[in-house]
């Protein structure tokens, strides 16, 4: 609703771009799932945590795996447990409800209060998975076949869905979402992000770290470019080891925190020797 609009403004530990804030608020206002895409490590998953924190709502997370089924998100009927219990007659198995376990989506739809539901990495599951969720996400209700109970959400949850674009998502699903592509942060935004995590970092060291970082991202032939979360970890390591700003000009300590693939380490070594120790900005 309009009076609720613009309610998400980012949190102290999660810095957002104005565009992302707008997308979140639009999705919440017109009650559509927000589909977030972007390079790995740009904070897709953290976004839901930040929204929940900012709006003071509970966060329910559904980590999708390659074996996940849409129905499991609503509830699982534990037939095996019921059969086992029936075996020795020491349990009352007539009440099926005690064998119905709600999944993350089921819990979000039955919650007394409004919640934030994160469906993380939806593209990991089978290609048909998103289509199987369409109905529940549209009408926000479901019924448990075994008991005949039907549940309807009293408050539509704020739904955030992340995808790594590993698989193409089906069109009917996409049409129902608000799409947002998180751009890789520019140096200004990145400076703010790093300062949130490492408030005590010196200005000079931070500048040089960022220069090195963006230089690394431009190295030709990298299979996987380092991401924001890796930068934050790397700077943490540098600070812990007391690395001085000047050191970064000729070497990259703890390179393993940024570059994870062997071929990429070689590519970086080659690029470093190519720049013959000059400050990387000169040849970036």
């Amino acid at each position: 609703m309009a009076q609720d609009f613009s309610r998400f403004s980012g949190t102290d530990s999660y810095i957002t771009s104005p565009e992302l804030r707008h997308s979140v608020n639009v999705a919440a206002a017109i009650e559509r799932p927000l589909l977030v895409r972007g390079e790995p490590g740009t904070g897709k998953t953290l976004l839901a945590t930040a929204i929940a924190e900012d709006l003071g709502l509970e966060l329910i997370t559904w980590y999708v795996k390659s074996t996940s089924k849409a129905a499991d998100g609503l509830y699982v009927y534990d037939t095996v447990k019921r059969l086992q219990d029936s075996r020795f007659g020491d349990h009352d198995v007539s009440d099926i409800r005690q064998y119905i376990q709600l999944g993350p989506l089921g819990r979000a739809l039955t919650s007394e209060r409004q919640v934030v539901l994160l469906i993380d990495e939806i593209d990991k599951a089978d290609l048909e998975f998103p289509n199987d969720l369409l109905h529940e996400l549209d009408v926000m209700e479901f019924s448990v076949v075994e008991t005949g109970d039907s549940h309807r959400a009293t408050h539509r949850p704020v739904v955030v869905i992340t995808s790594n674009a590993e698989k193409e998502l089906p069109d009917p699903f996409l049409r129902r979402c608000i799409f947002h592509f998180i751009e890789f942060p520019d140096e200004d935004l990145m400076t703010r992000i790093v300062r949130v995590h490492h408030p005590k970092i010196g200005k000079k060291l931070l500048e040089q770290c960022l220069a090195r970082f963006y230089w690394l991202r431009k190295v030709k032939g990298l299979r996987k470019r380092p991401s924001t979360s890796e930068l934050v970890d790397w700077i943490g390591a540098l600070l812990a080891a007391g690395v001085q700003p000047g050191q970064l000009a000729t070497e990259i300590p703890f390179l393993g925190a940024l570059i994870k693939k062997e071929e990429d380490v070689d590519a970086v070594a080659k690029a470093m020797s190519g720049s013959s120790g000059r400050w990387p900005r000169d040849d970036a």
């Binding site: 309009a2 009076q3 609009f5 104005p18 996409l174 049409r175 799409f179």
Partner: protein, 405 residues
Amino acid sequence: MPEISSTTDHAGIFLPFFYRLRSHGLKVTPQQWLTLIEGLARGLHGSSLMGFYSLARGIMVKDEAELDDFDLCFAAHFRGVDAEVTAIEKAVWDWLENPVPPHAIDPEWLKVMDSVDVAALRAEFERRLAEQDERHDGGDYWVGTGGTSAFGHSGGHPGGIRVGGDHGAGTAVQVAAERRYQEHRKDRVLDTRQLSVALTKLRALERTGPADELDLDDTIDSTAREGGELELVFKPPRENRLGLLLAMDIGGSMWPFKELVDTLFSAAHQARHFKQFDHVYFHNCVYERVYGNAAFSEKIQLGELFRRYDRETRLVLVGDAYMYPGEITDRFGAVDWTERNERPGADYLERMRDHFSHCAWLNPMAEHSWDAPSIRLIRRIFPMYPLTVQGVEELARDLARNGGR
């Protein structure tokens, strides 16, 4: 609540924009259009073109590859929408009259700021905006981003006019015209994804791993056999056990198809359904050995290749199969004389075919040009498919069904 404008007004201005998106190839639907109208009726665009831009983008765009097309349409459509531009200009002027100073300000910058005459700046801004007719990043004159011009955003000119960004009153047309998402369009990316989807059809599901799935049929059977004493039977879940080996012809006549083959390669790499994915190289035809790298320095003898990859591995050769027929039919016929093949190339190809129970050949050349003698020779050994999304789909389907033969 902001003022509720009647939806018909919106439709009058924005419906042609919807059709422009459609005619530009974005698959937007009436359902999305209605969502947009709903958003507008609720004032989610904040009565600014910038707000409309991000609202419409979130609803209409479904893939980062479409962002650039959306920006193009938006810039073309809303350039010169008078009413909005007036509103935006007014907002810029209002802001300019009452600038909010940043919290920490460099005294030197302040000096520069003081030296700027606001009236002159405004006149210059209007003049440049009128002159400018395309997107602009960097540089020191035009209104755009990242530059040192006095106008634009993310720039470094002290005392300049910032346009766009957080203020919410920037010109959406300018932002759209920046075409920041150009690098994501790469029609190739789409191809990669389509090919990945096509390749997933290759998978062969088998039951492997720990038995943790209840086998209902067997449970009922065993329980009945035990005279009603419950006997739970479990079975392992279905998993893909399939390995894929790509053998790629590189160099020579394959050069023009490099990009296409790269696309296939990254698609196969992305399709995570394979238990194992590897690739080897050859030139024109396979003889005693293939190569582990494109520089041909890492040799893999065929015997070694067969040891590494069992017969259940799916072999897909990629090449134009276009060569002098003698390279396939003659002893010592290899185009590279260092190969010194004791037997004709066809023999080695047949050995590969006989080892791998499922194999096929992908040809990047168009199907209508497959009547060269060498291609006909190879098609006698391997089933051949064109290297297109459809071709890969057919290949995957045939391999899954009958082993490609």
